[in-house]
């Protein structure tokens, strides 16, 4: 845990430790949550990372955290057997698909969070609103949407079920969020809901930026925005490397 996280946890403990215990006052206290870092840098040596999420509530009810990645466009294709080989066939495109989606909860969601609340706030992959682009039959759309979720889960970009959120002393909660090596870049939203008796009493949303930095970022940016320059540079690098190889070869 980073020093910053330790300090914040300690101050949170102090703050809530001294808070008045009257029920009304407890209700009024909003949920407080923070991350060990608000920026994940994808550098040359990046191979996935953990971000620590921690926070505190007034001590009653449950907490659920939803991590939503940036929007993507996604196309799902069905492999069909044509002349004995598997070929990409029918396809359905979806717009505004979260690139990453994970739910953390202090308890099994099914047991305490009403369906209406889950639907309204898109809590859990089955309640994610992923709509097809264009006119698609509802049954087909559902089939391809489920396939999209399965693919995302296999990559580790979507959670299968909610991950546990550790609760200590009934008030402090913490959990590690794992971002794999091929994590999509962009701005993530961490939505925290404090739920008492099946009602959301307090929410907090904090951003998390995941971005390529340093040389990796520069290479990617030039490749995308100035691709002619990138192509020429790639040619020059290869020619120089080849000539260097030849020089070494001759001496040997």
């Amino acid at each position: 845990m980073t020093a910053r996280a330790m300090l914040l946890l300690a101050s949170l403990a102090l703050y809530f430790g001294q808070a008045p215990t009257a029920r009304a006052a407890e209700r009024a206290q909003p949920v407080v949550v923070d991350l060990s870092e608000d920026f994940v840098a994808i550098t040359a040596g990046f191979n996935g990372t953990d971000v620590l999420l921690f926070g505190a509530t007034s001590g009653i009810g449950e907490v659920v955290v939803v991590i939503v990645g940036p929007s993507q466009r996604a196309t799902v294709r069905l492999k069909e057997k044509i002349a004995g080989i598997w070929v990409n066939g029918r396809e359905v495109s979806f717009k505004d698909v979260p690139a990453f989606y994970q739910v953390l909860s202090t308890d099994t969601l099914d047991e305490w969070l009403p369906l209406q609340v889950r639907e309204a706030n898109q809590i859990g992959v089955e309640y994610l609103e992923i709509l097809p682009d264009g006119d698609v039959e509802p049954a087909t759309a559902a089939e391809f949407r489920n396939a999209l979720i399965r693919n995302k889960q296999a990559k580790g970009h979507y959670g299968k079920v909610e991950d546990p959120l550790d609760l200590t002393g009934g008030r402090l909660f913490r959990s590690r969020i794992f971002f794999p090596a091929d994590v999509p870049v962009g701005i993530y939203e961490i939505n925290t809901y404090h739920v008492v008796d099946g009602r959301i009493v307090s929410t907090q949303t904090i951003p998390l930026t995941i971005s390529k930095t340093g040389l990796e970022a520069d290479i990617y940016r030039i490749a995308q925005q100035n691709s002619a320059l990138y192509g020429i540079a790639a040619i020059i690098i290869a020619v120089l490397a080849g000539m260097a190889g030849n020089a070494l070869f001759r001496r040997a």
């Binding site: 040359a44 040596g45 990046f46 191979n47 940036p70 929007s71 993507q72 466009r73 996604a74 196309t75 799902v76 294709r77 069905l78 492999k79 004995g84 080989i85 598997w86 070929v87 990409n88 396809e91 717009k95 505004d96 698909v97 690139a99 396939a147 999209l148 399965r150 693919n151 995302k152 090596a181 091929d182 999509p184 390529k212 990796e216 970022a217 290479i219 990617y220 490749a223 995308q224 691709s227 002619a228 990138y230 192509g231 020429i232 540079a233 790639a234 040619i235 690098i237 290869a238 020619v239 490397a241 080849g242 000539m243 260097a244 190889g245 030849n246 070494l248 070869f249 001759r250 040997a252």
Partner: protein
Amino acid sequence: MYLYLPIAELSVNVWVFLGLGVGVGTLSGIFGVGGGFLMTPLLIFMGIPPAVAVGTEANQILASSVSGVFAHWRRGNVDFKMGAVLLTGGLIGSTFGVFLFKMLRELGQIDLVIMLSYIVFLGSIGSLMLFESLRTMQRSRSPLNRRKLHQHNFLHGLPFKMRFRRSKLYISALLPLLIGTIVGILSAIMGVGGGFVMVPAMIYLLGMPTAVVVGTSLFQIIFVTANATFLQATLNQTVDVVLALLLIVGAVIGAQLGTIVGAKLRGEQLRGLLALMVLSVCGKIVYDLLITPDELYVLTTGLVQ
């Protein structure tokens, strides 16, 4: 040690990919082939997206052809005139090939076309080489029979005849132009230099003397892969320079090892070995297309435009 590849957008083990470069580099040193036809499928097997594997390989082959051409140039084994005609075709072919690549990628069929091209070419070249080396092994026990410099056939009746001094040929320029174009298309779609198709075509179709074949082929591959690198980078953004450099470093080391090893082994046995390797890569690709995948639905994502 892990390294994040900025264009492939995944993190790879540096030693594994350096090793891959050394391995394929050694083979190309032994056999005098570019190695792209082995490297691209291997990269795909290792999880590099096929489009990135193809774009990046064009860049890597450019480097190995540059490093290889000097030795042939010094010995005067490059027919520049023939090279120029071949590469005119090569530039036309590779330009068309990259546009075709972009179109197929948008249709979601590029992976299939890459795989099918590999099956056709690895399968046929591998079988031919295996057959040829078995025959040579047999023939080396029987007395030598002499062959003509080259056979004359209908191809020698085409117009636009040109004299290629170094190749000792007086043939229509249309034939090398056509060969260059076809190999150019292949090189753009398959991420290969095309030497493994170009060399047999130069020997058997054009009737060029074996001595100038490899140098001339390398000379034209330099320009064709440079063109493919530029177009893949601008049209498809699929050239990963970090991955290319990793493979180049491995390949340079491998090529040296390969030349040492190659000098100690017998030619026909080597060719037989390479043929078996080519056929097993081909077999793996066929197998992957035939078995029922665990997940029938494939997902492609991109940022919202």
